[in-house]
């Protein structure tokens, strides 16, 4: 039993990390009142830019490469998210439409650029991925050490720490209060002297940064290359995590961990003797069915920020 936990927990964490980053971004964007269906595309950009950078500069930068690649992806995510921001906030474009366009644009752009840079439709493996490590000292704690500190990606810890940080910022700082205000009732925020547009821009930019990181983390730890199918649905799973987590950073983290756990369980499950003869298809759909059951059973109604999806036009009502 413990053995199963020893393998499930680290797996859950590495699987969930990219989703956590991205979902946190989604929380910030939607909390500021901008729906971001484009998370998938922003992850694509993150994966594309980090892999490209890693391949081009690994020789020069050595083991620092993956970390700098993640930063590059963050910047790329920000730049790309600005398209979403300008269109939805300044040009009052429909947020869902723009998000869908971002997804198509990112994939087209990423693959196009890979062909320009490397002359082929998918890249080689990066030579400087992120590796797991044991956490010194903590790994020696009995039981717990093996579960939580053995062979772990630092990015998983960062994701979790960041979730708490994101929660703190959203609920304890002036900036967070303003983000939430703008997403609930932009006109009220406006009359309080808050710059609604700026705040929303920041919300979207944060989502770009974090989704970029999410895509990069996926690429640096899991796929280790980039192709048209590297990011295939993770962004949508992140959106699901945002809603599942009721637009709360910690909730989103919990939801992402739940997805990771369910996936890992379905893999472990197939080697548990009891489940050996269960048709494969049941295990494949198990994570998704579990999610629906969890939603129906315990989570129920989740209410989006009131003004999310609605462009703010100064002076209208």
């Amino acid at each position: 039993m413990l053995d199963i936990l020893y393998s499930i927990i680290p797996q859950t964490l590495f699987f969930a990390a990219p989703l956590i980053f991205t979902a946190l971004g989604g929380v910030y964007s939607e909390r500021s009142g901008v729906i971001n269906i484009g998370l998938e595309g922003l992850m694509v950009i993150g994966a594309f830019s980090s892999v490209t950078f890693n391949l081009l500069y690994a020789d020069a930068l050595g083991t620092a490469t993956p970390w700098i690649s993640i930063l590059v992806a963050m910047v790329a995510g920000i730049l790309f998210s600005l398209i979403h921001a300008v269109a939805t906030i300044t040009f009052r474009a429909d947020q869902t439409v723009t998000g869908v366009a971002i997804n198509m644009l990112a994939l087209g752009f990423g693959v196009f650029m890979i062909k320009q840079i490397f002359g082929k439709g998918q890249t080689d493996f990066i030579s400087q991925p992120i590796y797991t490590t044991d956490v010194p000292f903590l790994v020696d704690i009995p039981v717990i050490g093996n579960m939580f500190f053995n062979n772990m990606y630092i990015t998983s810890y960062i994701a979790i720490v960041l979730s708490f940080l994101a929660w703190y910022v959203l609920y304890k700082t002036p900036f967070g209060l303003r983000i939430r205000a703008v997403g609930e009732h932009p006109m009220a925020a406006d009359t309080n002297g808050i710059k609604v547009y700026t705040t929303r821009y920041l919300g979207v930019i944060i989502s770009g940064a974090l989704a970029g990181i999410g895509g990069a983390v996926f690429a640096m730890t899991i796929s280790q290359n980039f192709s048209i199918s590297t990011i295939a649905g993770q962004g949508f799973m992140a959106i699901a995590a945002v809603i599942f987590g009721k637009w709360n950073p910690l909730g989103a983290m919990g939801a992402a961990l739940f997805f990771g756990f369910a996936q890992s369980l379905s893999v472990v499950g197939s080697s548990i003797p009891l489940l050996e003869n269960v048709p494969q298809v049941y295990l494949l759909i198990a994570p998704y069915v579990l999610t629906i059951l969890a939603l129906a059973g315990f989570i129920g109604r989740s209410v989006a920020p009131k003004a999310s999806g609605v462009p703010y036009v100064k002076g209208s009502r």
């Binding site: 590495f14 439709g121 493996f125 590796y131 197939s270």
Partner: protein, 338 residues
């Protein structure tokens, strides 16, 4: 209408105007897999015959399943003499298009289409997989090896059955953990499965899972990075995946099951150009004709005892002493006979 007009102009032209082309599946000609390999074959064929790209040999890329028929037809209409469909996914469309264009020659890779103007190119993957199993079982210290498949299908079953048979041939008691990811494009799932297998003591994993296999490599390399002395091996598929296994000075790719799509494509193209198009035939490539092979690139890992064992079984297969199984039933019969 344009197409047919052209054809009457060019009709009856000399054999030098031979034109061949391929339609990729959704992978594209740089998928590091059989599309790429097929394109390399065509390019080789072009070089051998002094043909120019676009004029003598060409390809069309498909982005989705809906594109196959469109692309096949476009090539028909531009008077291509021999059209390759790369991958079993094109089988249905080739069947239909070949039916409507009896004058044009087609070749389908990895599937069988029974039409007089279609050559079916298949590979004896079970043979190569058998040898992969032999190598894995010889390499394994734990007595546990793994197989990761993309989606369960007849084709992938050939890999699995051959692999298990090969492994059991060497070590009758070896445990083979077989898992399917349900997708050829889910590296995260591949990594989960690999992580789980290595955790449970598996030390060699053979993958036949496309992009999902990337996750298997990622996991093996990660473990290797933390434990350079440990045994975490991957056996690649289709082409030599040595590069994918490189990590610092180590390499986790034990070997790869090679499928020489390029050889087959060049061969069929040449035959066709020379007027020996194997229409209506199933052209099978196996160990015998180097259509299937096993990589020996990782000299450090691929030790002599493995090489000896593999060569021994290879000979048995070529000689027909052993027949590698292709299905669960054949596998069962084979294992029982051991």
């Amino acid at each position: 209408a344009c197409g047919s007009g052209d054809s009457s102009e060019q009709g009856g032209s000399d054999s030098n105007s031979f034109k061949t082309a391929m339609v990729t599946d959704t992978g594209g000609i740089d998928d590091k897999s059989f599309n790429q390999s097929a394109w390399e074959g065509l390019t080789q064929f072009g070089a051998d015959n002094d043909l120019k790209e676009k004029e003598g040999y060409d390809y069309l890329q498909s982005n989705s399943a809906s594109d196959y028929a469109t692309n096949l037809n476009r090539l028909v209409q531009s008077n291509t003499d021999l059209i390759f469909g790369v991958g079993f996914k094109l089988a249905e469309d080739i069947t239909k298009v070949a039916d409507q264009n009896k004058e044009t020659h087609f070749a389908i890779i990895d599937s069988v289409v029974e039409k007089d103007n279609v050559a079916s190119i298949v590979f004896e993957e079970q043979q190569g997989s058998f040898l992969a199993g032999v190598a894995a079982a010889t390499k394994s210290e734990s007595g546990k090896i793994g197989f990761v498949g993309g989606e369960e299908s007849e084709l992938i079953k050939k890999f699995e059955a051959g692999y298990v048979a090969g492994a059991k041939s060497v070590n009758k008691d070896i445990e083979v953990d077989v898992q399917y990811a349900g997708s050829f494009g889910a590296p995260d799932k591949g990594k989960l499965i690999a992580s789980n297998m290595y955790n449970s003591g598996v030390d060699v994993i053979y993958h036949s899972a496309g992009g999902t296999g990337n996750g298997v490599f990622a996991q093996a390399k990660d473990l290797k990075n933390n434990d350079p002395e440990g045994s975490y091996w991957v056996i690649g598929v289709d082409r030599d995946q040595y590069d994918e296994g490189q990590i610092g000075d180590n390499n986790v790719t034990l070997t790869s099951m090679l499928k020489a799509v390029d050889v087959a494509v060049a061969d069929v193209a040449q035959k066709s150009k020379d007027g020996n198009f194997p229409g209506g035939e199933i052209v099978s490539y196996g160990l015998k004709d180097d259509g299937i092979g096993i990589a020996e690139t990782n000299e450090e890992a691929y030790t002599d005892d493995i090489k000896t064992a593999v060569d021994e079984w290879k000979q048995k297969i070529i000689d027909g002493d052993v027949t590698a199984p292709t299905t669960d039933d054949e596998l069962k019969a084979y294992v029982d006979s051991l």
